[in-house]
């Protein structure tokens, strides 16, 4: 029996995503992924000061709250050939890493966990047994029977209060939930622990960037001057004319706080996040069979030790893996016109060269052209255009980006810690290496890379402190700040590995203003619709062949889609290089 299942809104993600799936005999035969919100940020960016662009771009997303800011300042710096001081590089690395750790933990506990954890079942748990379970997997301090009994009582009060709030209408009791009550209780406890933990670790961004979400950045460095002055005597008479420690947030206290936060991050990842992932995964090993996706993986690379111009110094390397073949890594050129291209065959946009052609971001153009049904609507026409997302392709092939791509790339390039962690995971869960190419593999990869990144943070921190001690306080390079020092025309690409995957911003600068701006973001790679060849995007491919027990409770769809950690506000974007907006709307 053929059935069309619509899931809209997909919740516990960033932004507005809709999935329409065809099922036959309880199996998904075709899926269509649609982004249903557009703001036109790239149109808004045109004609503005490139130094301001980061703030606009950053508001593409408040969850990946830092990544577009970083990609944007890197794009301008790349276009202008603008070097930044080593301290700025280290501070940016620390901020990016903090974003990873914060974002991945929040995704796991607050966005993804409820797909695997039955909150209501936790009421049946025995607190003593829960305590034993918790102590068997980790030495995390909050694991006494009393702690879990308190937690259970809190939960019980809440459920019995009759107002379920955010837990209303969850798919509680669905047979796809396999955790024993004790594991559920432990996970619920950690859901709340993670909420208060994330508040603390977000402070790292506040110290360097003034606030989180949306910390501040700066073309040419970082805006946070360091006020630890070994030899600075102060000028003028009286304290009013001096600053010294306490003058900016990056002082002795601030730097000590950064160190403490790094410790807090590492403890939580080691003692809670990694053990929980492995414990929960062990009950869901069947999910190593579903949700593979397209089998092609791509990374742009990030965490430079030696500036963005030296990709060999990146901690996360760049490259392309095709058809699961880890033995051959294809090199990637961000500037080559025939490599990265975006298609709009099934998107609500027009191209001047026709809807079938792909365009490189430098030449990218976008003319909003909504041809979908007039709201309110029941179904989208998935044979025609059905999304505000474009379909990016590498040499015509769909690519998966994100934690799984990065872990595979690190593994394939011989990164030792990655190889050890992957080996440990496969052994612990007793699954074959093919199991990585799946919904569960993707979720596990996210946990593993969090561990890799949090372990690297102390190194950057110590380097920063060493520089300060050696008297190097530079955080900003002033030489190219004034637009009068820029060439009349310049173009560049700024890229990074965002928590959700490879992210690139392409900018064209003319007479000191933005002439064209385009962001090709992780969730566009993953959530984009079919291309002119009819090739599915990764979400669509991942859902194909997956079972769906009850179309009214599409928890299986949520598991796979959430394993990608969608970020749809990021994914939808528009550009218009020639200044001609062809807004033709056919309302049917």
């Amino acid at each position: 029996m053929n059935q069309r299942v619509v899931v809209d809104p997909i919740t516990r993600i960033e932004g507005h995503l809709r999935i329409e799936a065809e099922t036959e005999g309880g199996i998904i035969t075709q899926a269509s992924s649609s982004g249903t919100m557009v703001r036109g940020i790239e149109i808004i960016l045109r004609g503005r000061d490139p130094r301001d662009a980061w703030a606009f771009a950053q508001r593409i997303c408040g969850v990946c709250t830092l990544v577009h800011g970083i990609a944007s300042v890197r794009a301008v710096e790349n276009a202008l050939n603008y070097p930044i001081p080593p301290n700025a590089q280290l501070i940016r690395n620390l901020m990016i890493a903090a974003q990873y750790v914060h974002d991945h933990v929040m995704h796991f506990y607050h966005l993804h966990a409820l797909d695997w954890v039955d909150v209501v079942s936790a009421l049946k748990a025995d607190p003593k047994a829960t305590s034993e379970l918790a102590q068997s997997i980790s030495n995390y301090s909050k694991s006494s029977p009393g702690y879990f009994a308190d937690m259970q009582k809190k939960l019980k009060d809440f459920v019995e209060g009759g107002q379920l709030g955010i837990f209303t209408n969850g798919y509680w009791g669905h047979p796809a939930y396999k955790l024993p009550p004790e594991a559920n209780l432990m996970a619920v406890a950690h859901y709340l622990e993670a909420l208060s933990w994330q508040r603390e670790v977000a402070k790292l961004h506040a110290i360097f960037g003034g606030k989180n979400p949306h910390p501040n950045f700066l073309v040419g460095g970082v805006p946070c001057a360091i006020s630890v002055h070994p030899d600075h005597p102060g000028r003028g008479k009286g304290p009013h004319f001096r600053g010294g420690a306490g003058a900016t947030a990056v002082d002795l206290t601030g730097l000590q706080k950064v160190k403490d936060i790094i410790g807090q991050m590492r403890d939580f990842v080691d003692q809670v996040y990694v053990p929980d992932t492995l414990a929960i995964a062990s009950f869901y090993k069947d999910w190593t069979q579903y949700g593979e996706g397209v089998g092609n993986f791509m990374t742009f690379g990030d965490f430079p030790a030696n500036g963005m111009d030296d990709p060999s110094s990146f901690m996360i390397p760049s490259g392309v893996i095709l058809n699961r073949d880890l033995s051959t890594i294809h090199e990637l050129d961000m500037n080559a016109a025939d490599q990265i291209q975006e298609y709009v065959a099934h998107s609500w946009y027009d191209y001047s060269v026709g809807k079938e052609q792909g365009l490189h971001p430098y030449d990218g153009e976008t003319n909003l052209n909504y041809t979908g049904p007039k709201p309110p609507y029941e179904h989208l026409d998935v044979d025609q255009s059905y999304s505000w997302l474009k379909s990016p392709r590498w040499k015509g092939k769909p690519m998966e980006v994100g934690p799984l791509a990065r872990v595979l790339m690190l593994h394939a390039r011989g990164h030792e810690q990655t190889q050890e962690l992957v080996g440990m995971t496969l052994r612990t869960l007793d699954i074959p290496v093919q199991g990585l190419f799946s919904t569960l593999g993707r979720t596990a990869a996210r946990t593993l890379e969090t561990k890799i990144i949090v372990d690297a943070m102390s190194g950057w921190y110590n380097q920063l402190i060493a520089n300060i001690k050696a008297g190097d306080l530079r955080t900003f390079n002033e030489t190219l700040w004034e637009p009068s020092s820029w060439p009349q025309q310049a173009k560049g690409v700024g890229y990074m590995e965002a928590p959700r995957g490879a992210l690139g911003h392409w900018i064209v600068i003319k007479d000191g203003k933005i002439d064209n701006y385009q962001a090709v973001v992780p969730s566009t790679w993953n959530a984009g619709p079919r291309d002119p060849q009819g090739q599915d995007g990764p979400y669509e491919a991942a859902l194909k062949g997956q079972p769906l027990h009850d179309p009214k409770q599409p928890i299986e769809i949520l598991r796979t889609i959430h394993s990608f950690d969608p970020c749809i506000a990021c994914a939808v974007h528009v550009t218009d290089p020639e200044g001609e907006e062809l807004v033709k709307v056919k309302v049917r």
Partner: protein, 361 residues
């Protein structure tokens, strides 16, 4: 049990009245009310039941929700588990798709006329609202339906309050603020990109405590938090008065915490609580970390002439107009000069020689 008051909930949790008193003292301080109001706060909070809250997300980036999760006192946990019943919120709720929409419809029906509606993100009006839909419904339609049964609306973030980023020139999707659409309900604007968590929580606490709107300024912002400018409360203000300014982002002045006016700080014209409440549990705030205020709680701050241009400088370049004016002025001046000379010459030509004889006539 659903009708339990906050005091009863706390008591059942083994929290003493002393603890409750402390909670009220902290709330009074958070709301910027005089300490003598603590009794009134205790009285209303004691009788408070968890009201239904529906949170709609439109053209947004989820930064406002993320900011709310950074709230320290009270925290998001205590807010959503103790103080309110958050019945619909995309980013946090367990249910998806049909089940999620059902939760919203059910909550609206059950608490019609009583629930608090929170909106983040702007609403696109162009082209029938096709630029943002949820469950196939346009944002406009969903807002109008949900607003009809709301007791009050809180527009969270600059997008919902003033149109924000989508509204920035040239506003490709025709984005507008909540108050541009809804005219018949009380609306509290809580702008900021995102708003300070303590401010969001404070506004909610005020509404929950007193069931009424706080004192608002002419832009619909609570005066308790938006009554004063960043500049007036800035710890770097003494340097402004002394004429000590950072000239670049890492010169000695920047490291000594001098005023960021020259680097484009919009503190003097921005009304928000950052300088007093700070961010992330009092850790820091933009100016303390070395970047000027970008003015994110003011309408149209995206189009206010560049984040690194000093407040006293022009929004747009005037060079073109100036050059044209000089050229036209010169041409006109020369033209008038020539005309004057001609008049002089003509006067001379018409000049009649007058002799003594003529005078003697």
């Amino acid at each position: 049990m659903a009708d339990e008051t906050l005091l009863e909930i706390l008591k059942r949790r083994g929290i003493s009245r002393r603890g409750f008193l402390k909670f009220c003292a902290a709330t009074t301080s958070l709301l910027a009310l005089p300490p003598s109001m603590a009794v009134a706060v205790a009285d209303s909070l004691g009788r408070l039941k968890r009201p239904a809250v529906i949170w709609l997300s439109f053209q947004e980036c989820t930064g406002c929700t993320e900011s709310l999760t950074r709230a320290h006192s009270p925290s998001i946990e205590s807010l959503i588990f103790d103080a309110i019943s958050l019945d619909y919120h995309h980013t946090l709720q367990a249910a998806s798709g049909h089940a999620a929409e059902e939760a919203r419809e059910h909550s609206m029906k059950a608490d019609w006329g009583k629930y608090l509606l929170i909106v983040d993100g702007s609403i696109p009006l162009k082209d029938g609202g096709a630029y943002s839909t949820i469950a196939g419904i346009s944002n406009l339609q969903m807002l109008q339906e949900a607003a009809a049964g709301a007791a009050a609306i809180v527009a969270i973030g600059t997008c919902a309050a003033f149109g924000g980023l989508p509204h920035a020139q040239p506003n490709p999707t025709g984005a507008v603020a909540v108050s541009d659409i809804i005219k018949d309900k009380p609306i509290i604007n809580v702008p900021g990109c995102p708003p300070v968590p303590a401010v969001m929580v404070g506004v909610l606490a005020h509404y929950l405590t007193f069931g009424s709107l706080p004192d608002l300024d002419d832009l619909g912002r609570p005066r308790a938090f938006y009554g004063e400018s960043i500049h007036d409360r800035c710890y770097r203000r003494p340097f402004y008065d002394q004429g000590k300014f950072a000239k670049t982002f890492d010169d000695a002045g920047a490291r000594d915490g001098w005023c960021l006016f020259e680097l484009g700080c919009k503190g003097p014209t921005t009304h928000n609580a950052c300088a007093t409440t700070k961010w992330n549990g009092g850790t820091s705030w933009p100016v303390q970390s070395g970047h000027g205020c970008i003015g994110c709680s003011e309408p149209d701050f995206w189009d206010a002439g560049g984040f690194y241009k000093a407040l006293s400088t022009p929004v747009d370049s005037v060079t073109g107009a100036a050059a044209a004016a000089v050229a036209v002025g010169a041409a006109a001046g020369v033209a008038i000069g020539i005309a004057n000379r001609q008049r002089k010459a003509q006067a001379r030509a018409e000049h009649q020689t007058v002799t003594i004889e003529d005078l003697e006539k």
